[in-house]
């Protein structure tokens, strides 16, 4: 009888049967002491194989797949008038989903990385949080040693290099590092495949396609602060409306040359009602039966 986790070849199809069999013995029926030994992962465990076998498609716990069920976006804009400040708008939703189950409605997906930069979270929440904190620690050490602030380029490069080191081992991170430095406002999109790109307009997550639809239609390089904030919120609202993996509240951060301003979260259904009022359409579509 195969004990769960004792073989290295965990990607065999009949693992499921063995899992059920031993699961029954160990958990459903009262365990008999002396008969049961705690299953230990074997030496030489392959992380990605293990993750795929037990949480990947075709496994018993496929709801724990990391599908980057989220919408995050960020864009750079210049001020339209002297009353405006310009900078970067970063807007995110706040839903965490495990398959069909919404595990949290209030996740903060914008994390601080240093005093002048933020990073967004998409993919595995634990992966993003842990590695963003690690990058934050690196930025702090950098500033102590070099006695000057770290550039967005350097911080994102460090992040990307770390992620590349774990490539193929099952990390799921799709993060945008955004901030202001001596080269101006910059957004770097970094992901667990090892990709790093400098972008002016960027969106990551399952709702990114919807967000890009709005962003690509209404984005102007020069906008007023009010227009920019509205664009960020509107794009998140549309994404959460049509994407099951996104929802909750829209959290937003405005990064200016001098500071980071965090805006309080706005419920996306409230944003939808505002939109419905604007276009004068009733939210319930009731087709006439001719």
């Amino acid at each position: 009888r195969k004990m769960w986790g004792l073989t290295a070849r965990d990607d065999e199809r009949d693992t499921e049967d063995a899992l059920g069999e031993t699961f029954d013995v160990n958990a459903v029926e009262a365990p008999v002491s002396g008969n049961f030994t705690f299953p230990n992962p074997p030496l030489g465990l392959q992380p990605k194989g293990f993750v795929n076998a037990h949480f990947g498609p075709g496994s018993a716990a496929k709801s724990l797949q990391f599908r980057k069920g989220t919408t995050t976006l960020a864009f750079v804009y210049e001020p339209l008038t002297e009353n405006d400040v310009g900078g970067i708008i970063v807007a995110v939703d706040s839903r965490a989903s495990a398959g069909e189950y919404i595990s949290s409605k209030s996740v903060m997906k914008i994390l601080d990385v240093g005093d002048h930069m933020v990073a967004t979270m998409a993919g595995g929440a634990a992966d993003c949080q842990f590695w963003c904190r690690s990058v934050h620690k690196y930025c702090n050490l950098f500033e102590l040693r070099e006695r000057s602030t770290i550039t967005v380029s350097a911080a994102s490069k460090y992040f990307a290099n770390v992620l590349y080191g774990y490539k193929g081992q099952g990390l799921s991170v799709g993060s945008m590092v955004a901030g202001y430095d001596k080269r101006g406002p910059q957004i770097f999109m970094v992901n667990s495949e090892g990709d790093r790109s400098l972008l002016k307009v960027c969106s990551v997550g399952s709702g990114s396609l919807n967000a890009y639809g709005i962003l690509d239609t209404y984005y102007q390089p020069k906008m007023s602060d009010e227009e920019a904030r509205k664009l960020g919120r509107r794009a998140i609202m549309h994404a959460t409306y049509r994407d099951a993996g996104s929802g909750g509240v829209c959290n937003m951060v405005h990064i200016t040359p001098t500071k980071k301003v965090r805006y309080p979260g706005v419920d996306v259904s409230k944003l939808w009602y505002e939109f419905a009022d604007e276009i004068g359409r009733d939210i319930a579509y009731d087709p006439r039966d001719d």
Binding site: R133, N140, L141, L144, R145
Partner: protein, 253 residues
């Protein structure tokens, strides 16, 4: 010290009198280094240091010589072999950053000091490597004990102080501080610091020779503010005037 020759080549053994000579020689090295002093005030900590490496051609915009920030809430000043000091400062910064990553809050001052001192002590007992020829003064604020000032030496021993001094002429400085320290405010502490420095410096007091900073905790954040060239010059001027008055008063008698 003739007897010492036979026992001083290894740090990891005692001498017959029960001393660790390498540690004592390290402290001897430090007593030739530029003076550093720290004074605890009611609303902050004053740290002042004498810069020994003053050369017209030196580019001092790159590295600080004496006073270093270790984390958001802790700073230090060093006396001794600069190369050794750099290693210790790197270690301290990494320790504090790792603590913050692990626990999500600033490392308490005494813990950081203890962490480094435990490392320093290993070099007096294990491995046959020489100890670090550095003494440090740590100034920091945490929510457990407020403003704190610690001193550590090559033996790995550390002590907490209200005011102390390390480096060149430190015993004269500590004696003076013992007389004059009376729970000062930050402004009074700055004056006292300048008074002590003027006594310990072998050369004439000048703004280029002095590095001075204050550590204050305001609005939930700790700041290490370096005193500007003009402020240091102002303090020096006040000190010189006080000395003139004291001389004039003494000669009148």
């Amino acid at each position: 010290f003739e007897m010492a020759r036979r026992y001083d080549s290894r740090t990891t053994i005692f001498s017959p009198e029960g001393r660790l000579y390498q540690v004592e020689y390290a402290m001897e090295a430090i007593s030739h280094a530029g003076t550093c002093l720290g004074i605890l005030a009611s609303d902050g900590i004053v740290i002042a240091a004498e810069k020994k490496n003053v050369h017209k051609l030196l580019d001092d915009s790159v590295l600080a010589e004496k006073i270093y920030r270790l984390s958001d809430n802790i700073s230090c000043t060093v006396a001794g072999i600069t190369a050794d000091a750099n290693i210790l400062i790197n270690h301290l910064r990494l320790s504090a950053a790792q603590y913050k990553l692990a626990y999500g809050e600033e490392m308490p001052v005494e813990q950081l000091v203890q962490d480094l001192c435990n490392q320093k002590q290993r070099y007096t007992q294990v491995g046959g490597k020489r100890p670090f020829g550095v003494s440090l003064l740590y100034a920091g604020w945490d929510r457990h004990y407020g403003y704190q000032l610690y001193q550590s030496d090559p033996s790995g021993n550390y002590t907490g102080w209200k005011a102390t001094c390390i480096g060149n002429n430190h015993s004269a400085a500590v004696a003076l501080l013992k007389q004059e320290y009376k729970s000062p405010t930050l402004a009074e502490a700055k004056t006292l610091a300048m008074k002590v420095l003027s006594k310990t410096l072998d050369v004439k007091l000048a703004p280029e020779k002095v590095e001075m900073s204050i550590l204050v905790h305001r609005d939930g954040k700790t700041f290490l503010e370096e005193l500007s060239h003009s402020e240091v010059a102002g303090l020096i001027k006040e000190q010189e005037e006080r000395e003139k008055e004291a001389e004039a008063a003494a000669s009148k008698k």
